[in-house]
């Protein structure tokens, strides 16, 4: 499309993450001419969600980014006038590190590897096929992939199939590691072979007759069913984001599901946390006495401010110390601390009470837990705000790189950007996401890191009658000083994974690489697909089909003054933070908006589409529509619900 970009705007926004997108919507809604750019080919930056193949290309890009050679910057430098200075922008995304991929699902071989195909058809290898190959559509890394094979006759394994070299590795080392270094994307091909070489494989198969076997090629084939979030968050049902979505009417672009369960991990077992009144009374895990204790405590928390005498003496203590004084059994203390307040053990009494109160207030607004999850993933949310911006005239351009800001030397203000075509685009205000800023600008900035894991599994971590549960689990730190790990398990009805699989997100703030931070929790909750299941207990654990670890830069706590030499009309948005909710992003967007346009309202409700009267229209819209019903819901009128007004429960 050879359409050229206008060159005069009020606001230019670079980056389509959540805070930038909210700002775009707010600016456009208040009548500003907005240009919203992203250098990537997708919306959301580090807030994006990807299909499976999309995620693999993203991984590839992360890897290429680190090999990226700096291009000569000469092109645009001629365009800077004498009275101007340039602030170069970053050319590569350095926010993602330590990506590591493990494939445990059997990688059945059909198309490219005809010779081994015959082998695969032998009954012994049908259910637990033994040959692994690099993901073909993905081509993640150019290095050679070592394919492990245990059950194959030696003469066959010696064969070279295509470019893939087969080799038998030590069974103790199930992971075949490629160069495992900081910035590189490493591929670990994991054999799903039996640990005991001599054990008949057939037996292995009969051990698990009922379990679905999902192969890697099925995952690839059904790849578009996946919407894999880079950040794993939920919406607090009384949180700032829900309020903003409702107020601005952006909610009409998205649909949500309730998180159905809060889980806890205690003494090696996953249990459901009773959190509503009904839950508490129906709970089989609690004794009558415990039920009463818990209810009493939770009732107190709802209006703890009214009873200062109850906690004043403990202001200096940690919340966990305080809970010990409240006549709660250890299991109740655990529930409250980790699953309801969801705080670290070191958090203060007041913060703990605040968090507990917030949790309880969010309960029951839309359902039985305080959280909502957007269908198709968190990555939808920034896009919804972008749509709102576009509806009010904002111009959108993905795949559009910006080379530099142009600063007027005399006024010290930024007056334009120069894009990758050398085109100068003028504006009054500039909003840029942290990752676009160059090393020079950020040389004083100290970033935190977020450790993330994304797992595809074959079963829920806590099986119940329904296989369509959305669960959140906080795994307390194994040792003091480390962080709790947040686990969010999504079922296929969230439209984020294929049928018969679960998508599991793990998040914590980093102390080491993502794998080092999270692997122990993964091992506690899951077993690799195809690994021998010796004792009964192991069999009940969900199996890992695929796993990805990565670290994401957390720029959320950076103060504006840490950036070097930014003119006052350039505003910086941060990337995703580690928190569960989206409060940080919303607050940041609102603060920046009010700084830029102090007299404007932040995201007021748009006019009802039915009420819009066009210039020169004498005719009113025909039908006397009074409401706008949002989604066409034909398929399952029973299950579909409109969350109408806040505070009001779902109508069934």
């Amino acid at each position: 499309m050879a359409d050229s970009l206008p060159t005069e705007f009020d606001v230019v926004i670079i980056g389509t993450g959540l805070p930038e997108s909210i700002l775009a919507a707010a600016c456009s809604r208040s009548g500003q001419r907005v240009l919203h750019l992203d250098s990537r080919s997708y919306y959301g930056g580090n807030w994006a969600s990807f299909s499976f193949s999309g995620l693999l290309s993203w991984l590839k890009e992360c890897q290429q980014n680190s090999d990226f050679e700096e291009e000569s910057a000469a092109v645009w430098q001629d365009l800077i006038r004498e009275t101007e200075a340039a602030i170069t922008l970053c050319r590569k995304d350095e926010t993602i590190q330590h990506t590591e991929v493990f494939c445990y699902a059997s990688q059945d071989v059909d198309d490219n590897m005809e010779e081994t195909d015959a082998l695969q058809r032998t009954p012994s290898s049908e259910a637990s096929s033994t040959l692994t190959k690099p993901p073909d559509s993905a081509c993640l890394a150019e290095e050679t992939h070592h394919v492990t094979s245990y059950e194959m006759p030696a003469k066959d394994t010696a064969k070279n199939v295509g470019k893939i070299s087969l080799e038998i590795t030590d069974v103790e080392e199930t992971l075949v590691k490629e160069s495992n270094c900081g910035d590189k994307t490493c591929i670990h091909t994991v054999s799903d072979g039996d640990k005991d070489e001599n054990k008949p494989v057939v037996k292995d198969n009969t051990d698990q007759p009922k379990r679905n076997s999902i192969t890697y090629s099925q995952i690839v084939k059904e790849g578009r069913r996946f919407n894999i979030d880079l950040v794993s968050k939920l919406l607090y049902s009384q949180g700032l984001l829900i309020d903003l979505l409702i107020k601005s009417n952006v909610s009409r672009y998205a649909e949500f599901k309730n998180v159905t369960r809060i889980l806890t991990f205690r003494e090696g077992k996953v249990e459901q946390v009773p959190c509503s009144r009904a839950d508490v009374f129906n709970s089989k895990a609690l004794t009558m006495v415990e039920k009463r204790m818990l209810m009493k405590f939770l009732t107190f928390c709802v209006d703890y401010e009214q009873h200062p005498d109850e906690y004043q003496a403990f202001m200096q203590c940690s919340f966990s110390e305080y809970l010990k004084t409240k006549k709660l059994t250890p299991s109740l203390q655990h529930f409250v601390l980790h699953s309801i307040a969801m705080t670290e053990s070191s958090c203060t009494t007041i913060d703990g009470l605040k968090a507990t109160k917030n949790f309880l207030q969010c309960l029951g607004r839309f359902g039985n837990t305080p959280f909502l999850f957007p269908l198709y993933g968190q990555g939808e949310i920034p896009q919804c705000f972008c749509r709102m911006c576009a509806v009010f005239g904002g111009i959108y351009c993905l795949r559009h790189k910006v080379q530099c800001f142009v600063v007027d030397k005399e006024s010290g203000r930024c007056k334009a950007i120069i894009d990758h075509f050398g085109q100068r685009i003028n504006a009054k205000y500039f909003i840029v996401e942290d990752s676009y800023l160059s090393e020079d600008t950020c040389s004083n900035v100290r970033y935190k890191q977020i450790s993330r894991a994304v797992l595809i599994t074959d079963q829920s971590i806590l099986k119940t009658d329904s296989d369509q549960q959305i669960s959140i689990l906080i795994v307390p730190p194994a040792e003091p000083g480390t962080c709790a790990v947040r686990v969010i398990e999504l079922c296929s009805s969230t439209m984020t994974c294929m049928k018969d699989t679960y998508l599991v997100h793990l998040t914590c703030s980093s102390s080491k690489t993502a794998r080092e931070d999270l692997e122990s929790v993964v091992k506690k909750l899951f077993i690799p697909y195809g690994e021998t299941e010796i004792d009964k207990e192991e069999v009940t654990k969900p199996r890992l089909l695929w796993a990805l670890y990565f670290n994401m830069r957390d720029s959320s706590g950076i103060s504006r003054s840490s950036y070097n030499g930014l003119p006052s009309n350039i505003y910086v948005c941060s990337g995703p933070d580690c928190g569960l909710g989206n409060e940080h992003a919303v607050r940041q967007a609102q603060t920046l908006f009010q700084e830029i346009f102090p007299s404007e309202e932040f995201c007021p409700p748009p006019p009802n589409p039915d009420d819009i009267i066009f210039d020169g229209d004498d005719k009113q819209p025909e039908a006397p529509e009074t409401k706008n019903i949002i989604i066409a819901k034909l398929e399952s009128s029973e299950e579909c619900k409109n969350l109408e007004s806040p505070g009001k429960h779902l109508q069934n």
Binding site: L5, E255, Y376, V391, Q468, M495, E625, K633, C640, E644
Partner: protein, 203 residues
């Protein structure tokens, strides 16, 4: 029993290159207007028209691209939970026809499997400037298993037909769905939407 005055509600989404007349088609249908030389529509998210088909009230919610197609930056969320897609090109613009496969790829990626897609060649009032023959378009739509129609938003040719035919097909699909509704995997549109404060239902 219904609080709403309709039997069916469908979300129809328009896509296609900039300038092929998507907004004009919608405005012609919903308001009976043809706004010549109209720029981007500000503040209009979707338009609604309720039609009656065989005695049943069908509410059509028709979504426009909001200009995001101009630089190929349509959000994926735009496609979610659409019941039908109208893929539009301009018969006087070869380029807009050549881009169709690209649009189809987007549809495949982001829209529901069950979405009904209609191919529309607009601007037949400018027949003397035609660049894409009807036969070519027919062959293309056949190969892609799409319903095909040529329209003129300006002269109001086939515009009613386009939307009413589509509504009929959506109704019959919907009926079929409710009959065979033992689907275990949930469909888009099954989640909940949050709408804003002042538009709660008054029942």
């Amino acid at each position: 029993m219904s609080m709403e005055d309709y039997d069916f509600l469908f979300k129809i989404v328009l896509i296609g290159n900039a300038g092929v007349g998507k907004t004009c088609l919608v405005r012609r249908f919903t308001q009976g207007l043809f706004p010549p030389g109209q720029g981007a529509t500000i503040g209009v998210d979707f338009m609604i028209k309720t039609v009656e088909i065989n005695g049943e009230k069908v509410k059509l919610q028709i979504w426009d691209t909001a200009g995001q197609e101009r630089f190929r930056s349509i959000t994926q969320s735009y496609y979610r939970s659409a019941n039908a897609l109208i893929l539009t090109y301009d018969i006087t613009c070869e380029e807009s026809f050549r881009c169709l496969p690209e649009w189809l790829r987007e549809i495949e990626q982001y829209a529901s499997n069950k979405v009904i897609t209609v191919l529309v060649g607009n601007k037949i009032d400018l027949a003397e400037r035609r660049e894409v023959s009807q036969q070519r378009a027919e062959e293309f739509s056949e190969a892609q298993d799409m319903y095909y129609l040529e329209t003129s938003a300006k002269e109001s040719d086939n515009v009613e037909k386009l939307f009413l035919d589509l509504a009929c097909r959506l109704i019959s699909e919907a009926r079929q769905n409710t009959l065979v509704n033992n689907v275990s995997s949930p469909l888009p549109g099954e989640g909940k939407s949050i709408s804003y404060l002042t538009c709660c239902n008054f029942n």
